[in-house]
């Protein structure tokens, strides 16, 4: 018995140790530091709720938070609509379906940093050229205003992640029984009716998965933000993740940055926990 316990610990010690060093200890220290005047190395005093009080009046942080919320909501709607559309397209009888699947998924493998730089070129150089040629003013000056920065980030994110969402929907679509589709066809259902009354109810569980996945992913975006807009113009497109990095490492306000990081943690945890809650509830309903 003793021997058995020994091997158990032997097998889990490496991961337990690294998780403690890398995640658990830092998050506990982070909570603690957010109540002190920690400078990255030492602290000399407790400041209580000062950082959190300051945070409520920090316009840049609140603006980043609001921008992130708007960005996340816009992205999850577009990502799910387009992701599902792509999934339906590549599971249809098209000859090009395999090629299309390859193409749609490709951006997903490349880092957000690199994709952001590519799209910077598209938005700044290509858009303005096309705008000149066809005489559309809307295509000029992209990424130089808050609105175009916002939509630029949305387009980049949707383009990058739609293939990922597509893959998840495909997994669920393949679970729709063929017999069901065939009998619907025999009963004379149109493609629209088949989708609404047969496919849609059967893939409903996929929505919970993709909704929360896209929500927490869009909330945590950093690389794309950094490379596409860099937060500009005038920090108007700065998201929460970037605001935290900037406060801590550029602004050198470690404890204050950490208090933002804790608020960020709480928001992300609430999003993820409600996902777990809804999943559990759905399983019970079934």
């Amino acid at each position: 018995m003793k021997n058995k316990e020994m091997t158990f610990w032997l097998f889990i010690t490496p991961v337990l140790l690294s998780l403690s060093l890398v995640v658990i200890l830092p998050v506990l220290m982070g909570i603690f530091y957010s109540f002190t005047n920690w400078d990255g190395l030492n602290f000399t005093a407790f400041v209580g709720m000062d950082h959190y009080r300051r945070l409520i009046g920090d316009e840049q942080f609140l603006q980043s938070l609001w921008f992130t919320v708007r960005f996340a909501l816009t992205s999850i709607i577009l990502l799910n609509v387009i992701g599902l559309g792509l999934a339906l397209l590549v599971t249809s009888k098209l000859k090009s379906r395999n090629l299309l699947r390859t193409i749609f998924f490709m951006p997903n493998l490349i880092g957000g940093l690199i994709l952001g730089f590519i799209w910077q070129f598209i938005f700044i150089r290509v858009f303005s050229t096309i705008g000149d040629v066809i005489g559309v003013e809307v295509l000029k000056g992209w990424l130089s205003t808050p609105a175009t920065g916002f939509w630029g980030l949305v387009i980049l994110t949707v383009w990058q992640m739609a293939g990922y969402i597509m893959i998840i929907y495909i997994a669920y679509l393949q679970g729709v029984p063929k017999e069901l589709m065939e009998s619907a066809e025999i009963d004379g259902a149109t493609p629209g009716q088949k989708f609404r009354h047969v496919i849609f109810p059967l893939i409903a569980p996929a929505f919970t998965v993709t909704m929360f996945l896209t929500l927490s992913n869009s909330f945590k975006i950093y690389d794309q933000n950094l490379s596409l807009t860099g937060g500009g113009p005038y920090n108007s497109t700065q998201m929460v993740a970037m605001n935290i990095v900037d406060t801590a490492f550029s602004g050198n306000q470690m404890a204050y940055g950490q208090s933002k990081a804790i608020v960020f943690f709480v928001i992300v945890a609430i999003i993820s926990l409600s996902q777990v809650y809804y999943n559990k509830k759905r399983e019970v309903d079934l």
Binding site: K4, T7, F8, F11, I12, P14, V15, L16, S18, L19, L21, V22, V23, P26, V27, M29, G30, Y33, G40, L41, L89, S92, L94, K95, S96, R101, F104, M106, N108, L109, I110, G111, G112, L113, I114, F117, I118, W119, F121, I122, R125, V126, T129, W159, I167, I168, I170, K220, Y222, D223, S227, V245, A248, Q258, A261, I262, F264, F265, V268, S272
Partner: protein
Amino acid sequence: MKKKKWSIYVLEVFGLLLGLVWISPFYLMIVNSFKDPRGIFSNVLTPPSELNFVNYQQAFEDLQFVRSFFNSLMITVASVVIIILFSSMAGYALARNKSKLSSMILLLFVAAMLIPFQSVMIPLTSNFGQIGMLNRVGLIIMYLGFGCSLSIFLYHGAMTGISVTLDEAARMDGANKLQIFWRIIFPLLKPISVTVAILNVIWIWNDYLLPSLVLGNSSQTIPIRMFYFFGQYTRQWHLALAGLTIAIIPVIIFYFTSQKQIVEGVAEGAVK
């Protein structure tokens, strides 16, 4: 019947057009990477008049591509091997041990997935800095810490399909726990190991923020080098685009050589 054929045809054309739109950023990147600044200015949409590799030569040198490629490769491979090694062992131990403590430890790993990177990065880099571990070894340990949760979760799930009778038979034959795991169980976990490897390779290869905080200016990876390179050549699109193309080539090769496993692995990781 005729109507149906016609609608399939329309859908086919629509699909192909959408596919073209989808890859157009790559097309635009590649065609303009061969032009000089004037060529990009005069026409951004058409293919280059000649295949000129001058931009590539300079980008290749300025990216220090050979060095950053091998740095990225070394960090990715080492991290992924360690993640597979230790996560599979832990997944196995946690699945076979039915005690309350065991399920609580599993819950701890799953709960740790809720914590976003930005919430731990400041104390993390400070701690590792104080013990002189802001280097590649420290980075690999961090990847194990961040990556092990999902990997253990996947291994633990896969273990439910592997019967305990296998362990018992091997024990009868005189194998110890370590031998049972490495000789019997680990080979059976191969499909999930492929999934774990793919998910972690995609993440670690492309990761920018963590290595930039840990490695700083030394031993740079492709994303870090790309960031500095781009800053250096702001608005010098011909060089920037050549650099971006070079940086993407390894990923594209990886994608086309193991596309099936990648798509399956990503689906498995997401749906769970």
